[in-house]
């Protein structure tokens, strides 16, 4: 797994585009028919909520060809113009990801929801798309030369249009690779990033949430106590995507100085994984991670932690955009074809205005989220914009979810239609912290 960084030659500007094109070429080869077959579920059965397992570390992470100092992506330079047009690279990337979402994620979504897991082949194909490379600098084997939070937003949005649960499962490793790229020191980057840029991307997860009401990511109960050169972690993290499969965790814990991120390899005996199936995001195989005297190293600074919380929230906003759009796209033909009282129900204002308001609020959510993403990648302060986006996406995202079911009436309540799943999935926005990162 390791050692790939050293052998990869440095890409020039054209190389970045070529790297993306390579991904496109591969996506054409997606085997879209084999996906519906259930694969055996290695980790746990959904129904067995009491299932416990040890961490899933199967590989050893060792530092290879370390750089003299950590690679850091520079901020994106603004053109100074108000513009809603994605760059050509972004359009290419979104095109590929949208196709993947429509042809792979959407058809597999009901089964993945039931199985409480995302098919291994779906995960492998999403890794082929290079999702974990979007925020990794090219000198570390990634594909970018500057910050690309906006690309991350567009990709998450496109993925979640297919299926939110599977999108989270697919994007979970890139939250870790992104965190290490953004905040890791040269040793951490050299030790862990090669695995994410190689051919077998490991399951990995960013864990911030803890199981309690009124959770505050800046007031953590998971403790990091100094031990030797590093720390020992103790505590419980909640709703960790693919927790049972993860080989590497980035965990939020409270040190003497305040909340920060810590890198944890899952192979330590102090790591216990408990399945935590929830109302939605079931394809993301959510789990609790119990930590008992688990050795860890700090990742980044306290200020970096605050950015991590914000960028993760931004990721959830982006995901909500995709799923909310899926609702709009689904209810539109439905209300046009469903007849009551002798005409399509869309001819009634009470129905039509619900659709209009889904459109209006979704557009507002989208623009506010985009502004936050574009400020983040330009190196501008973005805490305010993320907070506003999160507010809108939580409030109206859920409103769209519930209206999606309402517009289908009783048919919306049964699993023949996807709107009940989107309803369950959209409730996650506003609850979730961590898991994804842009």
């Amino acid at each position: 797994m390791s050692g790939q960084v050293g052998t990869r030659s440095r890409r020039d500007a054209i190389g970045v585009g070529v790297a993306l094109l390579n991904r496109v070429a591969r996506s054409r080869a997606i085997d879209r028919f084999g996906l519906r077959k259930r694969t055996e579920r290695v980790v746990f059965e959904a129904t067995k909520t009491g299932f416990r397992t040890a961490g899933a570390l199967t590989r050893s992470f060792t530092a290879a060809s370390k750089l003299g100092k950590p690679a850091r992506l520079p901020a994106t330079r603004s053109t100074g113009r108000f513009d809603l047009t994605p760059t050509e690279d972004q359009q290419l990337m979104v095109g590929v990801v949208s196709e993947f979402a429509a042809e792979v994620l959407r058809p597999a979504s009901a089964a993945a929801d039931t199985a409480c897991t995302t098919d291994a082949r779906v995960l492998a194909q999403s890794a082929e798309l290079g999702l974990s490379l979007i925020e990794v600098p090219e000198e570390l084997g990634g594909i970018v030369t500057e910050r690309s939070a906006m690309t991350g937003v567009l990709v998450a949005e496109a993925m979640a249009h297919g299926d939110l649960g599977q999108a989270v499962a697919c994007l979970a490793p890139s939250a870790v690779s992104t965190a290490i790229s953004l905040w890791g020191d040269e040793t951490q980057q050299a030790t862990y990033l090669p695995a994410f840029t190689g051919s077998s991307v490991p399951a990995a997860a960013l864990a911030i949430l803890e199981p309690r009401p009124l959770f505050d990511p800046f007031d953590l109960r998971t403790r990091a106590t100094p031990h030797g050169g590093g720390y020992l972690l103790n505590g419980v993290k909640s709703l960790v995507p693919r927790g049972a499969a993860a080989e590497l965790f980035v965990i939020a814990a409270r040190s003497a100085d305040g909340p920060a991120l810590f890198l944890v390899e899952s192979g330590h005996p102090g790591v216990t994984i408990e399945a935590e199936p929830s109302m939605g995001l079931r394809a993301a195989s959510l789990a609790r991670v119990l930590l008992a005297d688990v050795p860890a190293v700090q990742l980044g600074t306290l200020a970096d932690y605050a950015d991590c919380v914000r960028l993760s929230r931004l990721g959830w906003c982006a995901l909500s955009l995709g799923t909310a759009k899926a609702v709009l796209d689904y209810v539109t033909p439905y209300v046009n074809s469903r007849v009551a009282f002798g005409e399509p129900i869309s001819h009634r204002q009470s129905v039509a205005f619900m659709v209009a308001n889904i459109g209006i609020e979704l557009e507002g959510m989208r623009l506010v989220t985009y502004r936050a993403g574009s400020r983040a990648e330009q190196g501008l302060p973005f805490a305010r914009e993320v907070a506003l986006a999160r507010r809108l996406c939580t409030e109206y995202g859920m409103k769209i979810g519930t209206d999606g079911v309402q517009l289908l009436g009783g048919h919306g309540f049964v699993k023949e239609h996807p709107v009940e799943r989107w309803y369950r999935d959209l409730r996650a926005i506003g609850v979730m912290e961590g898991g994804v990162l842009v």
Binding site: F82, V335, I360, L367, S374, L388
Partner: protein
């Protein structure tokens, strides 16, 4: 490249507009709210300044000239043009006082209509004219296809008969853009707009309304009796050509709705800023990082309002940006108007509740802004009309199907 910040080239101009709003409009805000129908003479000087700005090529004060669609020009570059600078300017001025903005000489909605659909010859002829907009009638508001005012061709003139109400700046302007039908039996296709000057015989300003808000702006009832208007004052094509003719008149709205949305955004920002200061004095500040449920209810309420404001603001910029770049924006213009109209009204009203007696009494302008904001969810198409338009577009429905 996606970027939703104020364009670099407009920043100085926006700052300038803000200074005008702060130093000229705000100090006169309460005076003309109390002295309804008194002419705000301070505006004459301001209007001259705005004319100067307009001549310098930057968007103008109330955006009247800034809504003309650019000629198709294919250099492939993204443009930040006069539609965008106009909504930015209108936002700042409305932050100062939206009633006074609506009273700005030569910046009426009629001017926007002229800028949108006039021929180049008419544009030159009507340059410098202050034009109001006369659409609504006593028996016809949102269903503007149903207007009863008639225009009958008689040689070189059209003879206009009818009554128009709610004409903004109708008492003070030089001319009004009047909607009238050439033939009621032909429906909306026969509706045309005419520039009618105030000195035209047969045109009478009958009365001015007393209103809930925007009191510094006069709202007139105008009667037309055997009013003979030169045929060359008809805007657009004189032919009755099916849907196309009416679509042309309605196109004005694609350009003016973002402006009204910008007004709502500006007024709401005034309320939000004042309320934030008052809350800070009371020891409540918004923390953008801490979860909303761990903050005081007032902070949580504020955050929700600010989020809605941000959405309204960006929807407005989007609609204007699309116009500048020659993209059809009917849907986005209506979305912006719907969101900004309702958010602006909701925000200004909720801010009063947070500010208590300070918000409700005339000691502060918060109560005024909450009265001013109501009309912004009504004129240039009510909230419900915007929702109808958005719904029809999203669902692919005609106005006959989705009524």
């Amino acid at each position: 490249m996606i970027n939703l910040e104020t364009p670099r080239k407009f920043r100085a101009f926006v700052h300038q507009a803000h200074q005008v709003a702060a130093e000229m409009l705000r100090p006169n805000s309460r005076r003309y709210d109390l002295a309804e129908h008194a002419y705000p003479k301070e505006l004459d000087m301001l209007a001259a300044m705005v004319d100067g700005l307009g001549a310098s090529g930057t968007g103008s004060g109330a955006g009247a000239g800034g809504v003309r669609r650019p000629e198709a020009d294919e250099d492939g570059k993204v443009k930040n043009g006069s539609n965008l600078s106009s909504v930015l300017s209108v936002t700042e001025m409305s932050w100062g006082d939206v009633g006074l903005l609506l009273s700005m000489p030569r910046q009426g909605l009629g001017n926007s209509a002229i800028a949108s659909v006039a021929s180049d010859e008419q544009l030159r002829r009507f340059d410098g004219v202050w034009a109001g907009m006369a659409i609504t009638e006593p028996g016809c508001g949102s269903d503007s296809a149903n207007i009863q005012t008639t225009a009958r061709r008689d040689g070189d003139v059209y003879v206009i008969d009818g009554e128009k109400i709610f004409v903004t700046a109708g008492g003070r302007c030089d001319a009004v853009v009047v909607w009238a039908t050439l033939d009621k039996s032909l429906g909306r296709a026969a509706i045309k707009s005419f520039v009618v000057f105030k000195d035209t015989p047969g045109m009478t300003v009958e009365r001015l309304e007393h209103k809930l808000g925007i009191r510094s702006s006069d709202t007139a009832t105008i009667r037309f009796e055997n009013c003979r208007v030169p045929a060359s004052n008809l805007l657009g094509s004189p032919e009755v050509d099916g849907e196309k003719g009416f679509a042309g008149v309605m196109q004005t709205f694609d350009n003016t709705r973002p402006l009204v949305a910008a007004m709502a955004v500006g007024v709401a920002r005034a309320s939000l800023e004042a309320t934030r200061d008052l809350l800070a004095e009371a020891g409540v500040t918004v923390d953008y990082d801490r979860p909303i449920h761990l903050q005081p209810a007032a902070a949580a309420s504020y955050l929700q309002m600010e989020a809605d404001w941000e959405a309204a603001h960006l929807l407005t910029l989007q609609a204007a940006w699309m116009a500048d770049n020659g993209k059809p924006n009917s849907l986005q213009a209506s979305m912006a108007k719907a969101k900004a109209g309702r958010a602006g009204n909701d925000i200004t009203l909720r801010c009063i509740e947070l500010a208590g007696t300070l918000g409700y009494s005339e000691h502060h302008l918060l109560e005024k802004w909450s009265r001013d904001s109501k009309i912004l969810d009504i004129f240039e198409g009510t909230q419900q009309i915007q929702q109808l338009i958005v719904a029809r577009r999203l669902l692919g429905k005609t106005s006959a199907e989705l009524k």
